[in-house]
Point group: C2
Chain length 320, copies 2
């Protein structure tokens, strides 16, 4: 692994330059947008010139954080800084011209490809925002607006502190942001306590389709071909829907079967600690991780259902 | 307000006694169970004799934390200590005999009635568990099992850090518990990412019943009389369901109408920052807080719907 810049060196880098263009990644999440916004605000507060490259895929929920910070034109003599960008393959749709030209990358992905001239990557950090708080504190006071943006970064990358990537430092970072003025309640309400009506209709349909086996320990839900269109759901509405069956109380093996437009069906499995999704999916020619795996079926919904139940039974689960 | 014991004095109290019976409150939540469990474990680790009074209403999800710690018989010469108990009116169903006999109360409710001989109450703490970590650290090492129990306490009383009661200290406490060995991911998964199938069916029914007005800004959902029975939902499944309509993206005024067995209907309103639930409900003879209020209707669902929509319109909202 190439040498990683320290936070202190990164702070020095920002002191030593004057004009910055900050770039995040394709399909930007809260960490990408929040990190870019906080860094831009911090640099402007130092009297520097700084912009966030306008990412065409920034969703509505995050737009408030980059309001007044974005540019669609490349500023002259600006140093290019990426945040939360693991590889140049994930440059924003309108940012392919930046490939090979990033001067500094600040990131937390272990898969960072060291595409930039200098790289500050901390794979222990749950969010890029965690590094940025430490860097920004060395450059001046952290304003409430910066704290809000960094709180968005840290909370979204951890599912509001629920995921397994959370460390003691993540929670302490959030505590520090709260004390710096982050208005956490409305952010949490908007990001974690709100669902679109299409998402709710999708969950309703999955609930209606739920079949239980093994005394409720196995649950199978399905999404027929036209369901998404019928309820007006987008891919965004269906984000992480594969986890739905396993989120039902008592379910240790959750299966979601999605009928595919091109024919056949896609199977997604999620399992609790005592079961192995990858091993079950391997029986159908698929694979993945122990807790989350997938497989395909050529013939469609009914066939996929029959075959996955057989695979689960073969793995040693008594279905009835 | 009566004098509050400090955490240091509370630690000294535990050092100076040898036998303890720990009591929480009616319908115990995660803070009540987790605080009692952690304190009991900490005292036993010091070589003291300590038990948690078996609360008949402890729900299944929390029982693992008090396993092996509970007693149903009052131990001789034990000092009575309450945790998270604001008033003796909320003593456990089988604990009314403890009224007037609590030696020490550890609590975080501003409404604490100072019923005990000594009281350590910190209303700034989001959870009783927040105080207890500080007290227990003064008494010895905090084990992973104690950290788990305190994490349950702190996370449940804050809706996994989403509610407005969260402070910087709450999040730092959670970070410290994580570093002390709290296994936060499975706890979060069980407590915050799991719903019963009855709860999901209830949410499905509410989704199906949802009516939108004012361009999606007002949402009205209803629970007809027999719905709960039909889907096999208990009051536990319906916990905080009043918040459901307002959790739909775009909704600023969320109304839930529940038909009552005794006749009539109960109205619950939740509003965003620009609206006043209390003021709207007052038009129907009800009341509450700015963000959450309620009212009754004598005539039932259809009448309640008509009257609340009229009240919302009167408050200045253009419904169509």
């Amino acid at each position: 692994m190439k040498k990683t810049m320290t936070n202190r060196e990164t702070a020095a880098f920002f002191r030593n330059h004057d004009r910055f263009l900050i770039i995040n990644h394709r399909r930007p999440d809260g960490d990408a947008v929040g990190s870019a916004a906080a860094l831009c605000l911090g640099l402007r507060q130092m009297g520097k010139s700084a912009w966030v490259w306008k990412n065409p895929e920034t969703t509505e929920r995050y737009q408030a954080y980059v309001k007044g910070l974005e540019t669609e034109e490349i500023p002259e003599n600006a140093v290019l800084v990426s945040v939360d960008l693991a590889t140049e393959n994930l440059l924003p749709l309108n940012g392919s011209a930046f490939a090979g030209k990033i001067r500094l990358a600040i990131d937390h992905h272990i898969s960072n490809e060291f595409y930039a001239e200098d790289t500050n990557v901390d794979p222990k950090a749950a969010a890029c925002g965690e590094l940025l708080l430490d860097i920004l504190k060395q450059l001046g006071p952290v304003s409430p607006a910066m704290a809000d943006a960094l709180y968005v970064a840290v909370s979204t990358d951890t599912g509001c502190f629920r995921y397994s990537n959370v460390t003691g430092n993540t929670l302490r970072t959030a505590g520090e942001l709260k004390d710096l003025g982050a208005d956490t309640y409305p952010i949490n309400k908007a990001l974690f306590d709100t669902k679109t009506i299409a998402r709710l209709r999708l969950e309703s349909a999955l609930t209606d389709s739920a079949e239980f086996y093994a005394g409720g320990m196995v649950c199978l839900c399905s999404i027929p071909l036209n369901l998404m269109d019928e309820i007006g759901a987008t891919e965004d509405d269906a984000d992480d829907i594969s986890g739905f069956p396993r989120s039902i109380y008592g379910v240790q093996i959750g299966v979601l079967i999605k009928e595919l437009r091109e024919g056949g069906a896609k199977l997604s499995l999620r399992t609790g600690p005592d079961y192995n999704a990858s091993e079950i999916c391997a029986r159908l020619g698929g694979g993945g991780h122990k807790a989350a795996a997938g497989a395909q079926d050529q013939d469609g919904l009914a066939s996929a259902k029959k075959r996955i139940l057989a695979a689960i039974a073969e793995s040693g689960v008594q279905l009835t």
